[in-house]
């Protein structure tokens, strides 16, 4: 399955449906889509590498943990991350090195990735996730 992101209409917040061929691709594609809403991610010079380690009881919760950790790093460092190298990615644990830098422009604030309508499920050619962010 070719990775792609669909915007789901939501009156107040931001919602995606993400399609990917593997768990790693799903997590990377969702993160990328989130950062593209946050900031101008074109031509971001790679000036930083950050390590992320999160755990959760299931892969949908893990997705939320991953995204919220990235939002935390974004806010305290002022960076967006455009490359993701997973050292470990199971349904319950993730360790990764993310690379990125300061964007030219930050568009908005995303307060958090929520559990509302959250799902990560198997699809005929891969995985589909739905996720809602509080903007």
């Amino acid at each position: 399955m070719k990775a792609r992101v669909e915007h789901v209409e939501h009156t107040a917040d931001l919602a995606f449906r993400v399609f990917a061929g593997s768990l790693g691709e799903l997590f990377a594609t969702t993160a990328q889509a989130m950062f593209q809403q946050l900031a101008d991610t074109t031509a971001v010079a790679t000036t930083a590498q950050r390590h992320v380690a999160v755990e959760a009881p299931d892969r949908a919760s893990l997705l939320v943990e991953w995204l919220n950790e990235l939002l935390y790093l974004h806010e305290i460092h002022g960076e967006v991350y455009t490359a993701y190298a997973f050292d470990e990615l199971t349904d319950q644990a993730l360790r990764a090195t993310v690379s990125g830098g300061k964007p030219k422009q930050v568009y908005t604030i995303i307060k958090g990735a929520t559990y509302h309508n959250l799902s990560v499920r198997q699809a005929p050619e891969g995985l589909v996730a739905t996720i809602v962010f509080d903007v």
Partner: protein, 482 residues
């Protein structure tokens, strides 16, 4: 999907979905709306989200939606749910990520006609001096101990450090410091996020606005609140910034396990909760109070800076500007309050997510000079539209756990709003109406007036339903967005 046939009209502006509508509902769900606003509410999932909140353990009487209801994540925005503190739950999702997002209103000695010729200068001064926008830190950097002081002592502590006047705390809900705050309940991550954000506006629908009073409905209340026809006023809308967002994230995560520990079944994971009277519930109450105090502190610093700047521009020309706080309200918060239910006094935790407290006359929580009139209720509209000052009622205590609306409520997604018009065009349209605008273009399109409900209509419903009574209507002269 719910539709009108599933509802009973219990009053002219109140509709009820009985608890028999769905087997997991513990109480009915009520919506305050006129026919058009009800139709709008039925277009997204907001009513279904309201019904979900009626399933939470310990919920009493009914859950409510205000006429500015729209879809959120978990409960709807504009939702009110009260749980018995003895056997009920507290839910971080039913408070929201922006804990104590709220508004304050300042009055002045000046007429709007005096300052209209100076609007460009005033708005430039505010935009250049009040920290706003994404990624912009504030001028106040909090050390560990200072952070804990803000979290536990809120506005009074900041005033003691020279940020404002002694009277400011008097005109905030909870005197600007919610009791029960415990800094140790807030994670190091949340404190790190908040360490350089105190006194910053943020982005999205947060704003600083100079307005003019254009209509007075209740002369007695207006006089008591210090408001008069043609007056220049100042609105400030902001919240708990990254600290509050992280507190919500932390506790929504932490309480996922509490749900199974206490045998709670949820229709939506974002409604995760714990018994109020449990270690997890008590920790969240303590952390939420800290975030609330941070937000009051944030609005206090924003006001302090805005007052300084406006005095610098206006005082040389007009002498005393007299910018004084009318009131500060929270519209995303959970409060411990008492209500009479079936003839008994019951202590409940009232969750207001996009809803405003509306205490009537006689309530001892109010400042002494407002006590016989009622609480000022502040309802900001969208930029470019009117805002309202109302007064709380005793009727609201019976009907809505002393709650009323918080704003206009969205009708259009941010995505759709930016596709409809470019921010530059929105700015131009507002300027053609005589409103001076400062802010990034993307934000302007998302927050354009066409993305929101009609504020006059929303306020009319709460006025006619007795949830709050109109005192004055104000229009914007200048708006600054982050």
């Amino acid at each position: 999907m719910v539709n009108k046939k599933d509802m009973e009209r219990v009053e002219e502006y109140c509709w009820e979905i009985p608890k028999s509508y769905r087997s997991d509902m513990r109480v009915p769900a009520r919506i305050y709306a006129d026919d058009a606003l009800l139709e709008a509410a039925l277009q997204d999932r907001s009513v279904e989200q309201l019904i979900n909140t009626a399933c939470l353990p310990g919920v009493v009487k009914y859950v409510l939606a205000m006429p500015d209801i729209h879809q959120g994540y978990g409960p709807p925005i504009g939702g009110v749910a009260a749980m018995n503190v003895e056997d009920g739950v507290i839910s971080p999702g039913a408070v929201g990520y922006d804990i104590n997002c709220g508004v304050r209103l300042l009055r002045s000695n000046l007429e709007a006609t005096q300052i209209k010729p100076l609007m460009d200068e005033l708005m430039d001064a505010l935009y250049n001096s009040v920290p706003s926008g994404v990624g912009r830190g504030g001028d106040v950097h909090l050390s560990g101990r200072d952070m804990d002081n803000v979290l536990e002592k809120g506005v009074p502590w900041l005033v003691s450090r020279g940020y404002g006047r002694a009277e400011d705390a008097t005109y905030c809900e909870e005197q600007g410091a919610l009791a029960g705050a415990r800094a140790s309940a807030v994670s190091p991550k949340a404190k790190k996020r908040g360490s350089d954000q105190l006194g910053t506006l943020g982005a999205g629908n947060h704003f600083v606005e100079i307005g003019e009073v254009v209509e007075v409905f209740d002369e007695q209340a207006a006089q008591r609140f210090g408001v008069f026809m043609g007056q220049m006023v100042l609105w400030i809308h902001s919240g708990s910034r990254g600290l509050g967002h992280q507190v919500c994230t932390d506790y929504v995560r932490a309480l996922q396990s509490a749900v199974s520990k206490y045998g709670i079944r949820l229709p939506d994971r974002e409604l995760v909760c714990a018994p109020v009277d449990s270690p997890e519930g008590r920790d969240y109450v303590a952390a939420m109070a800290c975030a609330a105090n941070y937000a009051w502190g944030n609005r206090q610093l924003l006001m302090h800076r805005a007052r300084e700047v406006m005095e610098q521009v206006l005082a040389p020309r007009f002498g005393s500007v007299g910018l004084r706080l009318v009131y500060d309200i929270a519209h995303n918060i959970a409060k411990m309050e008492e209500f009479t239910i079936d003839g008994r006094t019951v202590k409940v935790v009232v969750h207001r997510k996009g809803a405003t407290r509306s205490f009537g006359p006689g309530n001892r929580a109010l400042p002494s000079e407002y006590r016989d009139i009622g609480q000022p209720v502040l309802v900001p509209g969208d930029m470019g539209t009117a805002s309202y000052l109302l007064v709380g009622t005793t009727e609201a205590a019976v009907k809505s756990f002393s709650s009323t609306c918080h704003g206009a409520g969205r009708v259009m997604s941010r995505h759709a709003a930016t596709r409809k018009m470019h921010g530059r065009e929105v700015q131009q349209q507002l300027q053609e109406q005589g409103i001076v605008v400062r802010g990034p273009w993307k934000g302007l399109a998302e927050e354009a007036p066409y993305a929101y409900k009609d504020i006059d209509r929303v306020v009319n419903v709460v006025h006619e339903a007795g949830l709050a009574r109109k005192v004055a209507r104000m229009v914007p002269l200048g708006v600054m967005k982050g």
